[in-house]
Symmetry: C2
Subunit: 343 residues, 2 copies
């Protein structure tokens, strides 16, 4: 009889879910949620500002509570679960990473844009030196060809990462693309491969199953779908599906269902549905930070914001390139006039 397939889960509601509640987690909430996740047997619990350590800022959104207090609160109730932290080089520094490790965080997830793995070298090395397990987190994975993704993942492996994740930040990947990317990583790397999905195209679960099928063994979920955009792969639903598929997680399904309903749902201020805005971001494959700028430019130039975002997606803009929006809007307005004149 073949050994039962097994995946290792990371719960991201206390990090990615922070976006969904405008970074307003209280120590009391984090303590209750981490306690519940620990009791259910979740192996890793990520706790950080939505944009990682030191993300609290006017630009990314101010946290209600200092994240170090939240990390400390989570660690204090975890008897078997490990607390993980996210760090985006450029937003957070090695200094915050060390502070989190001193408070008891055991895993560092170092996140870069899928084409910028080279900026993670120092952070991965430092995290390993202080004894943390290290995940390389390649964001906006849809925006690079698979060969580029493999090249960047190999960089993270060479810096010492224990795991590399394919991160579908915009919820833009299709299942066959996920399968292709995970398969390639499995072929070219010797470390574990993970997948982090978003639900903007209602494909978070499909993509997660495609990733597992292709050999990913580390999977992210957010309980009650609490994450940026349309949320992540909904953890308690994933547990039910994996149980039906005979895949082992070691996490208690009923306890997670109850935590979702009794503790998480009441915290939600906005339901985790697929709205027009979330759908457009997934369809275009762009950062959510572009949305408001595109809507403003659309109004100014008399074009559809969706057309701007689709063009921005085609040009594979990265965070910080919001200037591109006005150019695109102007070009579209020009093209629109021409096309009207030709009719």
């Amino acid at each position: 009889m073949p050994e039962k397939k097994q995946i290792i889960l990371t719960e991201v509601a206390l990090r990615d879910g922070s976006h969904a509640i405008a970074h307003q987690y209280t120590t009391k909430q984090v303590t209750a949620i981490a306690k519940g996740l620990n009791e259910a047997g979740v192996p890793y619990i990520e706790v950080s500002h939505g944009d990682g350590l030191a993300g609290s800022s006017l630009q990314y959104g101010l946290s209600h509570t200092n994240e170090m207090e939240l990390i400390e609160a989570a660690v204090s109730v975890c008897t078997t679960s490990n607390v993980a932290v996210l760090l985006l080089p450029g937003v957070g520094t090695v200094s915050e990473l060390k502070q989190a490790a001193q408070l008891g965080a055991r895993m560092a997830r170092i996140a870069t844009h899928v084409t910028e793995a080279d900026i993670s070298a120092q952070h991965i090395t430092s995290a390993k030196e202080i004894g943390m397990e290290v995940v390389g987190f390649l964001m906006m994975a849809h925006s690079a060809p698979t060969a580029k993704l493999v090249e960047q993942a190999k960089l993270m492996e060479s810096y010492g990462a224990d795991v590399v994740y394919v991160v579908d930040s915009a919820g833009a990947l299709l299942p066959h693309e996920v399968k292709d990317k995970i398969t390639a990583l499995r072929q070219h790397l010797s470390i574990d491969i993970g997948f982090h999905g978003h639900n903007n195209l209602s494909l978070a679960m499909a993509n997660t199953l495609a990733a597992i099928d292709a050999g990913a063994t580390r999977i992210d979920g957010s309980i009650r779908c609490l994450g940026a955009g349309a949320g992540n792969t909904q953890t308690e639903v994933l547990l039910a599906v994996l149980d039906r598929l005979g895949i082992y997680t070691g996490v208690d399904l009923y306890k997670m269902m109850d935590l979702a309903e009794d503790v998480i749902a009441p915290i939600l201020t906005v339901p985790q549905e697929i709205t027009r805005d979330n759908l457009v971001l997934g369809y275009a494959g762009v950062y959510s930070s572009f949305l408001l700028h595109a809507q403003r430019a659309a109004q100014k130039f008399g074009v559809d914001a969706r057309d701007i975002l689709l063009e921005i997606g085609r040009r594979k803009a990265v965070g910080g390139q919001e200037d591109m929006i006005v150019d695109v809007a102007a070009e579209l307005a020009q093209g629109k006039e021409t096309s009207h004149a030709n009719r």
Copy 2:
């Protein structure tokens, strides 16, 4: 160059979505929604009580508006879309079907439990006689082995159905099961095959793609996910995904996005999220009518309602067998005591 793959869409928000708003559609709402769907180019728009023609009752929920008025309202604004109606033999009769046809409904969807296709013979024949296009709608398709499903679908084909649908009423099917069922139907039938999904396991989109991949050409969706349980495959999201996959529907994505956001979302009284109850129903694969009974029995016998529902699912109970719940609860209570004593 191969011809572009094409699927034909049926929008079910004005029928299945009726469950989500307790059958409170007004003529004004239905007119506005049908008008929007027609303008977006949706080929079929289903309009009926959630439980089909004549479903308005104390047992199934009373409609706000007589469904014949709603059908008439939808027909009055459809210039290219066809209005479809659902009929469950035993709930509705041929008389209501004729009335709907006289009002301009063009398609009859005759729905039975997956093992009870024989009760659809008269209704399918009659619908064909009055010139309607006819769909055989096999509900709770997860609860029968594929061979049984094929046998039942062949019955519907023999009665004259133009299309047979695999209907995942409880949102309980997994993608490989959908693929298996659709593939078998394609092998053994010569009519078109359709798929109707629910999102209780967050797999509506995955299952829909699996169905299309296996050869289904008729697909149901509900705009803004407005359907029973956790809702159906979300139509406007499906359109975005199919566009990315190069599959043609002829439906305008932007118009559907706008209709979802501006017209449908404000009607929703409860968000279409995957709650604990919806998840349990999908995981156990049981009718939602069992839920309340199971919760009551659980309290009485001191057992977990989820364990009752799972056992009910294993026994493949069908609507009307709610009595079974008390027996199962009593057995579980007995078993529980034994297992406690043995610890």
